[in-house]
């Protein structure tokens, strides 16, 4: 399935506002991460410091990613 991923801050500057990748079903956060890293060296450089959010909540590595989910890849947060 094709997953569109939102990017923010330094990741958006490096890669773009959104990217789309193809991931085999059933997809998980880990399999999506691997697809993103394979498609974009800039994402691979972040490694696991970049975290995925699914449907506007932090996702764990084994969480599923389903068609239609809102997915975002987020660099380390720095609020405050």
């Amino acid at each position: 399935m094709k997953v569109e991923v939102l990017l923010f801050a330094s990741l958006r500057d490096a890669v773009g506002r959104t990217i789309a990748v193809e991931v085999p079903e059933p997809a998980t956060v880990t399999s999506l991460r691997r697809a993103l890293e394979a498609a974009h060296p800039a994402i691979a450089r972040f490694g696991t410091r970049a975290k995925l959010a699914v449907n506007e909540a932090w996702a764990g590595e084994t969480d599923p990613v389903s068609p239609g989910d809102t997915v975002a890849l987020l660099p380390p947060v720095a609020g405050g």
Binding site: S10, A57, W58, P75, V77, G79, G80
Partner: protein, 145 residues
């Protein structure tokens, strides 16, 4: 009321909202923009949020704080957009019957915000434009601006 604000924050007014008649202790944390970071001059910061998720995450933090600090009430706001040195970036106001719980709830609030809310800041100063990372790491992207 949304947690993110594009307009200046007023810490004292948040204290006025959080306090209850039974509370004898109010604790307030105010985070402001510093004029230096790791030895270089800072002129201004731009805060960016993943807005819809940031709002939801701050609701979840409120729920968690109500559970972990049941005697306290905690309110907080975070600024987004362009901030100058000295501007208020974040406010956490906590209210409880006694000071220990007010301080503890306020501390727990700011720590959760810093760890969990998808907000980033870009620093403009003597090092150019830099995305600020936690733990002192910064990915430098020097630009002329």
């Amino acid at each position: 009321m949304p947690f993110l604000s594009a307009d200046p924050l007023d810490p004292i007014s948040l204290l006025g909202v959080v306090r209850r008649g039974r509370d004898g202790g109010l604790a307030l944390f105010v985070g402001v923009v510093r004029d230096e970071n790791e030895g270089h001059r800072v002129d201004r910061l731009e805060y960016e949020a993943y807005g819809p998720m940031a709002e939801k995450e701050m609701v979840r933090i409120s729920t968690d704080l109500a559970r972990s600090h049941p005697d306290a009430q905690v309110l907080f706001r975070h600024r987004v957009g362009a901030l100058m040195v000295g501007d208020v970036a974040v406010v956490v106001a906590a209210s409880a019957p006694h000071r220990a719980e007010a301080f503890a709830a306020c501390r727990a609030g700011i720590e959760a915000i810093k760890a969990r809310v998808p907000i980033w800041k870009r620093e403009f100063g003597s090092s150019g434009a830099v995305w600020v990372e936690p733990c002192g790491e910064s990915s430098h992207q020097h630009e002329s601006d």
